[in-house]
Assembly symmetry: D2
């Protein structure tokens, strides 16, 4: 078991950083749905790096080949499989590490889990590269969700200490974009964030941040009790996105300081529709959607790959060691992680929507 997810929609991801290819199988999409692959490509471009001072220079051939599941631009009921080639598949390059375990990477855990047989090259199956098929599946689900009136919005809520405005939980406003797909609500704050990340990059260090994501237009009653509730399913997929270390819905951690009388979302009538005046629940009550925007925040830790010298253990010689990681890295993964957050959540929500 491992890289599979879903009930009605089964997602199976495969591949390693330097294997011949990687990809995803989506089994369970209803027949007769239109998929716009150019729009998918535009979504994938949002996660691609190498466009600016604060993301890695690796240029990737990130164009999917759809092997099955489509007839023209329409699903046929067969599993949809999309694959991506790995340009750089020379598996020698992990030797650069010369046996040094990269702190806060999966190196050590994977080595022990797979008794040394894991693919060490470029992080193997733990590489951020695996978010490419994840984003493909999400881009498809975002289209399928939109066809049912569900829209996703997200922005960078913080980078390090720098805070963007938060979403109005009852009224999600369209986000502002700086150049290079840098989504924030307050453009000025965005400029600050970019400047800060560029500074951090110069220092050879990294920093984390928070992504805030909202889905609007979800019908009431989506989600299953206990283990497949909406929060459970979104949280499950979200921790599959590298660097995610926390998630909260609605008021989340801030809500614990409130009184019930403040935090409860009072129902009212808008015409014959039942709505809530506030949305501290983040659109989810008892694990089920209540028709209000589903809003959550995801904490992304600082990229563990940094230039600065680090202490570690060399598993080949079993000695303590000092080393630094070569190659180019993202000083902050948040901008590239944002589409992954949208993608992961879209897959979980579409699966639950089919389940309904």
């Amino acid at each position: 078991m491992s890289s599979a997810f879903g009930n009605k929609l089964k997602i199976q991801i495969f591949g390693q950083s330097h294997s011949k290819g990687l990809g995803v199988v989506m089994d369970g999409i209803p027949a007769g749905m239109k998929i716009d692959l150019e729009e998918v490509q535009r979504f994938l471009d949002r996660r691609a790096g190498g466009k600016n001072a604060y993301s890695t220079a690796r240029k990737e051939a990130d164009t999917p080949t759809v092997l099955s599941g489509l007839v023209g631009d329409t699903t046929c009921g067969a599993p949809l499989c999309a694959i991506f080639e790995n340009a750089n598949t020379k598996s020698g390059d992990y030797d650069k590490l010369k046996g040094n375990l990269r702190p806060s990477h999966a190196d050590y855990a994977a080595w022990m889990k797979y008794n040394g047989y894991q693919d060490r090259s470029g992080g193997g199956q733990f590489s951020g590269r695996l978010t490419l098929p994840l984003c493909f599946s999400g881009a498809v689900c975002i289209q399928l969700l939109r066809q049912q009136g569900v829209e996703v919005s997200s922005h960078i809520l913080s980078i390090g200490e720098i805070q963007d405005e938060a979403f109005d939980l009852v009224d999600i406003k369209q986000k502002t974009y700086l150049p290079d797909e840098f989504p924030v609500l307050n453009a000025a704050v965005g400029e600050e964030m970019v400047a800060y990340m560029t500074e951090i990059a110069k220092e050879g260090d990294s920093v984390g941040g928070i992504v805030e994501c909202a889905f609007t237009g979800i019908p009431v009653g989506v989600g299953e009790p206990i283990y497949d509730n909406v929060e459970s399913c979104i949280a499950r997929v979200m921790f599959g996105v590298p660097a995610v270390k926390g998630i909260e819905f609605g008021m989340g951690f801030a809500g614990v300081k409130q009184r019930g009388s403040e935090c409860n979302d009072a129902f009212y009538l808008e015409g014959d529709q039942i709505k809530t005046k506030t949305n501290n629940s983040g659109g989810i009550q008892g694990g089920i959607t209540n028709g209000m925007p589903v809003v959550f925040r995801v904490a992304l830790k600082p990229t563990p790959s940094i230039y600065k010298e680090q202490e570690t253990v060399n598993f080949k010689e079993m000695t303590e060691n000092k080393f630094h990681i070569e190659g180019r890295h993202d000083p902050c993964i948040v901008p590239r992680a944002l589409p992954c957050v949208e993608a992961a959540a879209a897959v979980a929500l579409y699966d639950l929507l089919l389940e309904k």
Copy 2:
């Protein structure tokens, strides 16, 4: 789909607040394991209410009847089923609500999801009562984990604004207990919390809090990539615990403000064992355990059931309405939720341990 969870260990929960009974089936426990039912009972007593000024007076017959899966005190390889009777099964009492949708409860979402056929009595399958079988399954898994050297510790990190000390992430210290199973690290802070909850109870209001939980002794290499990683599985089950609105691992949300050079956990050698000097990763890297304590924090919202008058919609007359909820409620669910947090996580971890 809904109330089922697990790969190697399948958990199936069933029951409603006022159905004849409720319970859980645990399918996949290896044969030959000893289960101490008295110890299970002591665990269940920790979630029982009615013992003090800040928890509901409902007295429940919370003693499990094990129908199958055990021969004497030993598992036989057959699914283990435990059931609980519901003392109060007169399903009339929801009429008290007279059609008023309780704010921030599942009432409205469930009504829409099940087209009005949901069991409205006492919250039906969305009742906190369902944490009873959840705790049973967790109490069993905690014993099975202990037999493999894994121990769980948890404490109340905060109630409203009142903060207990946090765990030392690399060295989990045994918790202090006030009377009535009130686990905190700093007893003085605990007294404050109790006084505060009692005050809130008098006001007819409620408040939330945070539980911090740690598992020690987990072997390296537990967890599967992407969708079944340790964080994904713990998060998934945790949002099945009522009132949970957020979860974070290791440094979690605070970590996003750190630099990679601070946040990375440097490896070192302790004899021939590889360990990390810090544990900002919360014992999990790449979704897989690294042998350090697995530590996470769970945000619990204020109990939505309060005495204070609330605004809502009456779904029978489709009118806006003012009402207040009768009966006794917990002004703060955190103390009773804490064993549920341990239980839910124990189930997820034991399933992953079997998977390994």
Copy 3:
């Protein structure tokens, strides 16, 4: 993993022959469905023994207690759990076997599988008693199928060498019943079978037979490709019925001797409906229903429990041994297995119907 089945409808069976109780959880039945428990009881009575010369005398308290999932007679969307008490739970009685492995029973396989920890009393979880919850789940699904226009018919096609007429594959005729729920198409043949079984019983031996089962009214397009096709799902559950050793659909094994030109089912128009002139496919083409009756035959081996002396190995002394099994047994399980066959298939079909 083990006693669980289903995609949209999850079935979890639990219990042993002499555990406190046994039962089943059905998770995924839509809310708002009416269940007639008296009709369920009449179905369960069909599998009960002790009514005649050819079935065991064990009188069982086979009345289900529904713990959850129903409000009155209507499903509420919560998992439906039904339990049965085991009257005889004194677990000493397996000592009668004094360590002798019953030939063609699960005794030896289970002993090895569970390292001796299996529940040996009365066959433990391998007891035919487990067909009681299986039949409960099937009886419920038969009602749910009927509400969608699907009807099940079945009859005893053979006992030993004695053959009943076979179904007309395109036109399933209502079956004839002898007293004691003995369903055959030709009553005279039925009398013969009863006489034969009574004879076999006198000899202390047993015999097998074949059940033929048909479902009519299934819509076109039910079933999923490859692993969840209709034949796969029915076959999977059918081998969960004790004593089943073979299954065939439509012409089955006889069809292999036909030419394609004979065996192919020609399409024709009945008004605007597409039908087939013959039904050698048994209503299933490419694993998917084509609207014709779904017909299959199940081979049931002779009951392994016989009075005649048998050779075996005693696992306590690890010696070869001669012994004979005490207590009363069915000389032929076919009549009691027939409702189990209907039940198992109904569960698989209803799950696929929900999947559609």
Copy 4:
């Protein structure tokens, strides 16, 4: 849901007859296992057609490309994905059928299931071509099983009326091969079969047959009770092989005519090993392996594609019609289906072995 299977080993098949490609993902193979891809290729060649008078001329590029899961020749714990190109992907050729539904093919059922959106080209996802990834997954599992001492043997038991000798159920003998991988126990009978199929081919008709398959060396105690017993799992996957209409284990349908005293498999001691004198159970008791050879027989219907004129309905004009199918077809699929039978069973058994 559909083209996915397995608990510990997850198999996900994808592709259509004329899509860009097809393939399989195998998720759950332990790390560190050696896979010999040349041996896999030799296995795949056994199912390839076009080598003789009785199989279709279609020449296919049936060489897998392994995208992931291997480092050199060793599994690394990541999902193993293998893909195959489809040489002929011009999707026009189904127009040859001009809307005529091929009798006893999936055409009609699929058309209704997918509301006309199914891939009609070359049978789409219902094409026999999908057995190519199935065989790949099986060839890998056969190697993994062999590494644990499990061997598979199979032969053609019958073509039409022509019968080969049956396996000795307690002592499986190595099979004889005619040229072109035509496995029978009696070579003379094999010659007869070949002559007969060639004759049928001349007539433009087709015929069916039976494959007998045996696995030796399986440890005692493999299989799970009720729904995941060995017979259930093998049967489930077997009906995923096109043209399969029946399966039986051990004595199967013939066993129903036996007395219990004949059919029961008496235990005896061979040294300190418990064995059975006969193997009418086919190595499976209570659904669990007992250490004797696992033997089963599979009925394969005559290939539905024949040259002879057939009656059908044209779904475009909704008129009854006479037509005949062009192109070359197998007059008998049995020889090419045999490796598919081995492959499907190997996947099910290896999954259960990992489960153990």
